[in-house]
C-alpha cells in the first residue's frame, strides 16, 4: 500500500519539478515548487520523520512560496 502511495507521490514531485523548470510563466513555476515541497513533506511522513514533515510543510512549502511571490510582485511592479 505504502509503495503505491510512494510511486504516485514520486511521479507528482518529478512532474512538478519539470514544470517548475520549463513553464514559461514564473508564477506557475513557483506554485510547482510549492507542490514539490508539499509532496516531499508527505514523503517524510512515510519515512517516519514527523518532525521534518512539519518543518517542511510550514517553512518549505508555506513561507518560501510566499517570499518568492512577494519578490516576483516587486519585479513586476518595477516593470510596469
Amino acid at each position: 500500500m505504502f509503495i503505491i502511495i510512494a510511486i504516485i507521490l514520486g511521479v507528482i514531485s518529478l512532474v512538478g519539478g519539470y514544470i517548475a523548470l520549463t513553464n514559461p510563466k514564473l508564477s506557475v513555476g513557483i506554485i510547482a515548487t510549492g507542490i514539490v515541497s508539499l509532496v516531499a513533506s508527505i514523503l517524510f511522513l512515510l519515512l517516519a520523520a514527523p518532525d521534518v514533515a512539519m518543518t517542511e510543510a510550514a517553512i518549505g512549502s508555506g513561507l518560501t512560496t510566499v517570499i518568492f511571490f512577494y519578490v516576483l510582485n516587486k519585479i513586476r511592479q518595477g516593470n510596469a
Binding site: 518532525d51 512539519m54 518543518t55 510550514a58 517553512i59 511592479q77
Partner: protein
C-alpha cells in the same frame, strides 16, 4: 555549444555517481553506533520523549546555536540590502482593500495561530514539533496580517527586543549548564522530572522556547521586509 556539451557531460557524470549510490544502497536493518547510543540512553540522560528534540537541543546544541546565528545574519543582510526609506513612499498609491472575509478571518485567526505556535514549541520535547516549527507558525500569523493589510508596519523595536533577549537567554542557559552540570547546553541544571510529562527533560523546554521566539522573530522580520510596500527604483 561547447558549454552545453560540458554541462551534459557533467550531469551524466553526476548521474552515474548517483546510479552507483543507488545500486549500493541497502536499507539498513540496524542502527549505527551513534544512533544506537541515542536510542538507548537518550531518554535516560535527557528525559525527552522526542529524541529529535533531544539531539537538536542538547547533544547537537552547538549546531543549533550556529544555525540561529546564520538566520540572524541572513535577516540582517536582507534588511541592509533592502533599506526602507519612508520619505520615498508613494503616498498617492491606492491599495485595493482586502476582502471582508480576509479581514474578519485575520482578526479571529491571528491570536489562535500565535497560540498554536506557542503550544508547538512548549510541547517540543513530547510531541513532534519544536522551536523551528512553532516559530514558522508565528511567522505565518504575521504573514496573514500583511495579506489583510499591506500597509501594516511591523514594529521593529519589539522584534529586535524579543530576538536579542531570547538569543542572550539561550546562551546564558547554555553557560549555566557549564557551571552547574556537565557542559555547555547541558539540560540537567533542572531536575529531569517524570518521563512524558510537560515539566520534564530539565532545561530543554526552556531552551526550545527561546529558540522558538528567536526563530519566530527572525522569520517575521524577513517576511516583513520583503512584504513592505516599496517599489523598486525605476
Amino acid at each position: 555549444m561547447l558549454k552545453k556539451i560540458l554541462i551534459l557531460f557533467l550531469l551524466a557524470g553526476v548521474g552515474l555517481i548517483f546510479f552507483d549510490l543507488f545500486q549500493s544502497y541497502q536499507s539498513a536493518s540496524e542502527l549505527t553506533t551513534t544512533a544506537k547510543y541515542y536510542a538507548d540512553n537518550g531518554a535516560k540522560e535527557v528525559g525527552a520523549a522526542n529524541l529529535v528534540s533531544a539531539i537538536v537541543v542538547t547533544y547537537r546544541g552547538l549546531d543549533t546555536l550556529g544555525e540561529v546565528s546564520i538566520l540572524f545574519v541572513t535577516a540582517a543582510i536582507i534588511s541592509f540590502v533592502l533599506k526602507h526609506k519612508p520619505e520615498e513612499e508613494d503616498k498617492n498609491r491606492v491599495i485595493k482593500p482586502a476582502s471582508e472575509i480576509l479581514n474578519t478571518a485575520t482578526v479571529f485567526l491571528t491570536p489562535v495561530m500565535i497560540m498554536v505556535g506557542i503550544y508547538i514549541f512548549i510541547n517540543g520535547h513530547l510531541t513532534p514539533g519544536g522551536g523551528f516549527q512553532g516559530g514558522a507558525v508565528i511567522a505565518s500569523a504575521v504573514l496573514l496580517i500583511f495579506l489583510a493589510n499591506p500597509k501594516f508596519h511591523l514594529n521593529h523595536s519589539i522584534i529586535a527586543f524579543v530576538e536579542s533577549i531570547s538569543g542572550v537567554a539561550f546562551v546564558v542557559v547554555g553557560a549555566l549548564g557549564l557551571i552547574m552540570a556537565g557542559g555547555f547546553l547541558d539540560n540537567r541544571i533542572l531536575g529531569l522530572g517524570e518521563f512524558g510529562t510537560l515539566f520534564s527533560a530539565g532545561a530543554l523546554p526552556i531552551i526550545y522556547i527561546f529558540i522558538g521566539l528567536k526563530v519566530g522573530a527572525e522569520l517575521s522580520n524577513i517576511v516583513g521586509i520583503l512584504a513592505q510596500e516599496q517599489n523598486i527604483k525605476n
